[in-house]
Amino acid sequence: MNTNKNSYTVIYTIVLVAIVATILALVSMGLKQKQQTNIEVEKQLSILSSANLAQDVKSAKDKNSYVQGEFAKYITEALVVNAKGEVVESCTEDITKSGAFKISIAEEYAKMRDIDAAKDEAAKESLINELRLPVFVCNMPDGGMRFILSAYGAGLWGPIWAYVAVKKEGTELSGAIFDHSSETPGLGGEIVTDKFRNQFVDKVIFDNGEICEIKVVKGGAKDPAHEVDALSGATITSTSVQKMLTQWFNYYKPYLQLIVDGSGNMPEPGIEVKEFEQDPEVIEL
C-alpha cells in the first residue's frame, strides 16, 4: 500500500483524530462526576479546616465521605451577602448545592478589580452592588459558633485564597487556612503550613465599626492582636496575604457589623431574607 499518497494521508489523519477524540470524550464523561466531587470535597475541607474541624482527615479511611459527613454535621447554614451586608440568599439544607457554596470567589475577585478600575462613582456603585460574598455558619462541637468568610487575591506567581473563621462576637478570628496555585515551594508555598496559619488565631479584625488590618511583618511580630510573622524569603506572597485579607474584610464590613450586633446569624428564612429569585437586581447577574 502506498502510504505516501495525499488522499491516504488526509483520510488517515481524519480517522485517527476521530478515534482519539471519541476515546477521550468517553473517558472524560465517565470520570467527570468523580472529579467534580473531588473539587467540592477539597473546598469543604478548606472551609472546615479554617475552623479547625476535620482534623482526622489524614487518618480517615474514606476521605471524601469523612469530609462530606463532617461538613454536613457542622456547617449548618450558607449565606450569600452583598457589600451592604444584606443577606440575599440563605440555605440550611444541602449546603453543597447552595448558592453560597457555588459562588466562584475568583470571579468575585475579578469584580473587585473592576471596582478598583472603575472610572466614575456611579459605575463603581453599581459594580459594588453586584458583589456576592459567601458566608458559612459553623456550629462547633463545643457549642460555639463561627462565621467562615472567604478571600481570594493575587500572590507572586498566581492566585492565593483563604477561608477565615470569625468568632461569634464578630471581632476576632478563630482560625484561617490559606492555599495557592503556584507559589514557590518552600518559600511562598509555606502559606499552607500550620505554622503560618496558626498565627491568625485570635487576631482582631473588626473594632469599633472599622476593619483592623492584620499586618504581616518581617522580623518578628510584636503586637499579638494585629501582627503576624511574614514568611522568610517570600515578601511578595506575605504582603499579598495582608492585602487580600484587608480587601475582602472591607467588603464584608457591613456584614461583620451585623455579626457584632448579634443579628448576623440565621435571620428567619422568609422574614428578613429576600428570596433569591424574587430580587430583580439579583436576577440581572
Binding site: 505516501n4 494521508t9 488517515y12 489523519t13 485517527l16 482519539v20 473517558v27 514557590t184
Partner: protein, 204 residues
C-alpha cells in the same frame, strides 16, 4: 527477545544521566517523593503504551506526518492519565499541577518512539518504552529522596529528622532551603551523572 532491551535503558543508557533527556520535569517534580513516584509511574506508562501503539500501527503511518501521529498518540495517553489522576488521586494531581500535561513534551517519549517504536515490533517497543520510563523514574526518585530528606526533613510527608534536633526546639539543625529550589535538582543530577560516568569508564 533480548534482555538487554530492558536493562540498558535503566542503567547504561539511562535517559536522564546518559542521554540527558527529560531534565525539565526532573527539576520540577522532585521536591517531594510522592509526586515524584506518581510522575515516574505516569511517564513509564506513557512511554510504554505510546511506543507499543505506534509500533502496532507503524506500517500504516504516512511517513510525512509521522511526528504528528506520534504527538496525537502521546497526547491521548497523557490526557487519559491526567483525567484518571484527577479522579482517583486528586491531592497528587494538584501537586503535579501542569507537569502531568507537560509529559507530552517529555523528550524521552518522542525520542524512544522515533528511535525504537517506529522500526521495531510491538512487544520489544513496549519493553523499551517501559524500561526508559523506569530509568527516568529511578533518577527522579533518587533525586526526590535527597531533596525531601534534606530540604524538608521528611519522607513521604512523614517527619524523619527528629523534631528535637531543630534549632527552633533547642537543637542545632536546620532544613536546607536550597534543596527545595530547582537549582539543587540540577546539581544532584549532575552528581549522579558524575558518579555514573566514572563507574562506566572503569567498565571499559
Amino acid at each position: 527477545m533480548d534482555k538487554k532491551i530492558f536493562t540498558t535503558p535503566i542503567l547504561k543508557q539511562n535517559p536522564i544521566t546518559v542521554l540527558v533527556l527529560g531534565i525539565c520535569s526532573a527539576l520540577a517534580v522532585t521536591v517531594k517523593l510522592e509526586p515524584a513516584i506518581v510522575m515516574a509511574i505516569s511517564v513509564t506508562l506513557v512511554t510504554g503504551l505510546s511506543s507499543f501503539l505506534i509500533s502496532l500501527i507503524r506500517k500504516t503511518i504516512p511517513n510525512r506526518i509521522r511526528i504528528i501521529v506520534q504527538l496525537v498518540v502521546v497526547a491521548m495517553f497523557v490526557i487519559l492519565i491526567e483525567q484518571i489522576l484527577k479522579a482517583y488521586v486528586y491531592d497528587v494531581s494538584k501537586q503535579l499541577s501542569v507537569y502531568v500535561g507537560l509529559i507530552i513534551t517529555n523528550c524521552i517519549i518522542m525520542g524512544r518512539i522515533e528511535a525504537f517504536g517506529l522500526t521495531e515490533k510491538p512487544l520489544p517497543s513496549l519493553v523499551d518504552g517501559l524500561a526508559n520510563g523506569l530509568g527516568y523514574g529511578l533518577i527522579l526518585i533518587v533525586v526526590a529522596f535527597f531533596r525531601e530528606l534534606i530540604g524538608s526533613g521528611t519522607l513521604f510527608g512523614a517527619q524523619i529528622i527528629p523534631q528535637s534536633w531543630y534549632a527552633a526546639n533547642g537543637g542545632a539543625y536546620l532544613n536546607n532551603g536550597l534543596f527545595i529550589m530547582p537549582p539543587m535538582a540540577l546539581i544532584l543530577i549532575g552528581c549522579l551523572i558524575w558518579i555514573q560516568r566514572s563507574i562506566q569508564k572503569e567498565d571499559k
